[in-house]
Amino acid sequence: MRNRFIYIFLFLFIPVITIQSCQNEDSITYKRYFVNGKGLYEKNCQNCHGADGKGLGTLYPPLTDSTYLIANKQKLACIIRNGQTEQITINNVVYQGKMPGNNNLADIDIAQLIVYITNSFGNKQGQYDQAEVARDLAACK
């Protein structure tokens, strides 16, 4: 009887343990970026872009349009750091507003924010790391 329990126990938990150790470092980093990015988003961005990323009317653009976010991936770091005022078109809707810059955010914060927004609200673009953000920021106009 007692042996049976031990067998069941092992049978149930060995796969769990194996899967956990198989989770490679990349996906752990991704998860950490995503979770931190969510916190940064709630604090710095959610008031305008919304908890659901839908924005607000045409005052604040949505972050739900994967086409726009993929096409402008390399610009996101600059938009977040320096803000943006130029007219933009997302899903055939024109937006002309003032996104404030965020000088207080470090490169790592911006990378985490990018990971969060490009993997939420219907987006699924995967990891983006600090080095990529540093490269993008060096090319800001």
Binding site: N47, C48, L56, T58, L59, Y60, K98, P100
Partner: protein
């Protein structure tokens, strides 16, 4: 024994009836007792604080006054179009109130800009349009510095002021103030909190029922 049961039952019924009329919203703000003589006896009436007459330009550059709010209940708030902190949250929530009572002739919304210098009616119009608001059930108004800051502090009891130490130079609270047809304050809700705005919507329904009952 049976009698007792009947008595207990009837008390219960009576109580549940009174409970229903008890659900009136409180009247907020300052109040003063006023003595009056009726048939040689003194009775004390309570005079509640009301919103003073006002006159502003709305988003269509038309003058609107307190008269435009006669016979209606309304929700008032203070904001400015370039505010990048709490205003987007407030107006995302106010938009829910707007959609819920859209085209109800008994309901209006009144947003005062506190950015006297920049938020001229044309800017308010652009803002309203971008927010998705048409017509004038929801009024966005511009007034003189004194009239806006005074009515905020003295009538709606909302703190709003210019402050050079603030990054945007303007400080204000995000209250939504519910006003009844007698221009009395009936509720104050934090416009940045979704659950309080839900409560506001429920209270507006309640107030509309009260006003409809009073009319009969």
């Amino acid at each position: 024994m049976k009698k007792l049961l009947y008595i207990a039952l009837s008390i219960l019924v009576i109580q549940s009836c009174t409970n229903q009329s008890d659900t009136k919203l409180p009247i907020l703000g300052n109040r003063e007792p006023v003595e009056r003589t009726v048939d040689g006896k003194t009775v004390v009436d309570t005079i509640y604080q009301t919103i003073s007459p006002f006159s502003y330009f709305n988003q269509d550059s038309v003058i609107i006054t307190d008269k435009d709010f006669d016979g209606k209940i309304y929700v008032a708030d203070f904001f400015f179009t370039s505010c990048n902190t709490i205003c987007p949250i407030m107006h995302r929530n106010m938009l829910d109130v707007y959609k819920k009572f859209k085209d109800n002739p008994k309901v209006k919304l009144l947003s005062h800009t506190i950015d006297i210098k920049y938020d001229l009616p044309s800017r308010l119009k652009t803002y309203a349009t971008k927010l998705g608001v048409e017509g004038n059930q929801w009024e966005f108004v511009h007034g003189s510095r004194d009239s806006i800051f005074n009515i905020a502090a003295k009538n709606y009891l909302v703190s709003a002021f210019e402050d050079s130490s603030d990054p945007q130079g303007l400080v204000h609270q995000g209250w939504f103030i519910l006003v009844d047809t007698k221009k009395q304050l009936r509720g104050a809700y934090d416009g940045t909190k979704a659950d309080q705005v839900k409560q506001l919507i429920a209270d507006m329904d309640k107030l509309l029922r009260e006003e409809a009952a009073d009319e009969k």
